[in-house]
């Protein structure tokens, strides 16, 4: 056994020939939606809370197995269409159906100041900023004002939940303000 302190470099840094990898799998990356804006707003009409889906939601929530199956189905379809990360508090209806949770900074209130001249994400320059995409999509269907709503902070406990069930059960009612939030300063409410 050698005596004396062993010298260990705290952060030696990557080797000289290192190339950036895909990044930590759980870190968000911008994903372009695969559902055309027009179709997305058509689907919205059916997903919006109404008597039918409220009833279905309430039924599904009573049966643990059905709930799990429903959540898996939601995950599969939204992962494929929007790059969904299952935050459980879906913002898609007011972001032009471009998922803000794909923003590396997880910004839910619009693009950061670092968007490149062509609309490129600052962190992943080979991808387009989710908010540039969202603005284009929303504006193309006359929904640009949706992006003026103030979005509340994400509740990190809700990751993995079904956002449709939350939406239908009214648990998402206060995720964002009206789009006329400028008229009077909006109230945030307590966020426990």
């Amino acid at each position: 056994m050698s005596s004396g302190p062993v010298h260990v470099e705290l952060l030696p840094g990557p080797p000289a020939d290192w190339q950036p990898g895909p990044g930590e799998p759980r870190l968000p990356r911008p994903t372009e939606p695969r559902l055309a804006p027009r179709s997305a707003y058509v689907v919205q009409r059916f997903v919006k809370p109404n008597w039918l889906n409220r009833r279905v939601g309430a039924l599904v929530e009573r049966l643990p197995l059905a709930r799990r199956a429903f959540t898996v189905a939601e995950r599969k379809s939204k992962e494929d269409l929007f790059g969904c990360r299952m935050c459980g508090q879906c913002a898609l209806p007011v972001t032009g159906y471009s998922c803000p949770m794909g923003c590396p900074k997880e910004l839910r209130n619009g693009p950061c100041g670092g968007v490149g001249p062509g609309g490129a994400c600052e962190v992943y320059p080979d991808r387009r900023c989710v908010w540039v995409v969202g603005y284009e999509r929303a504006a193309s269907r006359g929904h640009a004002d949706d992006l003026r709503r103030l979005q509340r902070p994400v509740d990190h406990r809700r990751f993995g939940e079904s956002s449709w069930l939350n939406y239908w059960a009214g648990r998402d009612d206060h995720l964002w303000t009206d789009n006329d939030g400028l008229a009077s300063p909006p109230v945030m409410g307590d966020h426990q």
Binding site: L11, L27, P104, K105, E106, L107, R108, N109, G110, P111, C112, G113, G114, V115, G116, P117, G118, G119, E122, V123, P125, C129, W131, V132, Y135, E136, A139, A144, L147, R148, L150, Q151, R152, P153, V154, H156, G181, L182, P185, P186, M188, D190, H191, Q192
Partner: protein, 319 residues
């Protein structure tokens, strides 16, 4: 309590400047840097690990700047702290009389000197402003827990980049920050004066320049190397339009700095004439000593000049 608020409320053209905290652990070094700006500007921004490079913390630097005689604006970014730490640090800042607070989301860690750091981004600039306003006005934390006493006299600031895509949404984004609580707003480098005027015009049309003082960001391109760097796309949020590049590259390489200063002085004169613009924010990028020269060139140095540093507090020195 905030001299900056009073100045802006008076309607006088206001000059703020960036003051980069030192990479070191000495308040004296910080004060030395601060003294370069004393008498020249109305307030200074103490950046919060700008560009994700580690510097002295913005609150400690803000205290040093205040002791050097300057009015500090303490920046806070959402990159490194979650909502617990941000609210706690806000209370700490308020407790030592830091009332001018400016919130931004922050540059991504990959651009800094610790690219392997964990990005936090728990709140964003809008929700952070919202939280600060709630703490001040309702006397409550984000959780609803009561503050005894609430931080008082806070003057809340924000930033915006009017030139980044989607350009048509940038005024709406500024409006969101004003709705959330922003009372003053500094912008990214203004090179494209026409684009800036469109942006300010949109805010003015909604009556928002009455609710929030707009300060146009102005900086000097000091050399060809600086121009190459700023237009490389490697500096988050900074882009130099082609017509500006053509102008700066059209002069002798040795006089790029001079031409850059001339350009900045012209921008200052143009934004000063725009209704709804309350002042300028000088983006010095570490060159605080060039500020007096720029103000002279722009013709807005009137009545400003170096002043004696305040006498050291004898009681504090004796303690």
């Amino acid at each position: 309590m905030s001299a900056l608020r009073d100045r802006l409320a008076s309607g006088a053209f206001t000059i703020t400047s960036e003051l980069s905290p030192v990479r070191g652990g000495s308040a004296e070094a910080m004060k030395e840097r601060a003294r370069l700006l004393l008498g020249w500007v109305d307030a200074v921004n103490l950046t919060d690990n700008q560009g994700a490079h580690v510097r002295m913390s913005s609150w400690a630097s803000a205290i040093a700047a205040r002791e050097a005689g300057l009015e500090p604006i303490m920046q806070m970014t959402c990159r490194d702290r979650n909502r617990i730490a941000l609210q706690s640090d806000l209370l700490g800042a308020a407790s030592v009389g830091m009332t001018n607070l400016l919130f931004m989301t922050g540059d991504y860690p990959k651009f800094g000197d610790h690219p392997g750091a964990k990005p936090v981004f728990d709140l964003d600039s809008v929700t952070m402003l919202w939280t600060a306003r709630k703490m001040r006005d309702e006397g409550k934390l984000l959780s609803g827990n009561e503050l005894k006493p609430p931080p008082s006299g806070l003057f809340l600031g924000a930033v915006e980049n009017p030139f980044a895509p989607p350009e048509e949404f940038r005024a709406a984004r500024a409006a969101k920050k004003i709705a959330a609580g922003a009372q003053f707003m500094q912008t990214q480098y203004v090179f494209d004066v026409a684009a800036f005027e469109r942006w300010v015009g949109a805010l003015r049309d909604e009556g928002l320049t009455q609710r929030c003082s707009i300060l146009a960001g102005v900086g000097v391109v000091r050399s060809l190397r600086a121009l190459d760097f700023m237009s490389s796309g490697k500096v988050p949020g900074v882009s130099v339009p082609d017509f500006v590049q053509r102008r700066l590259r059209g002069v002798h390489p040795d006089s790029v700095g001079q031409e850059g200063a001339k350009l900045a002085a012209e921008v200052i004169a143009q934004v000063k004439a725009m209704p709804g613009v309350a002042g300028v924010h000088l983006l010095t990028a570490g060159y605080e000593k060039k500020v007096p020269e720029l103000l002279e060139m722009a013709g807005i140095a009137g009545g400003r000049g170096p002043v004696e540093a305040p006498a050291p507090d004898v009681a504090a020195a004796g303690a």
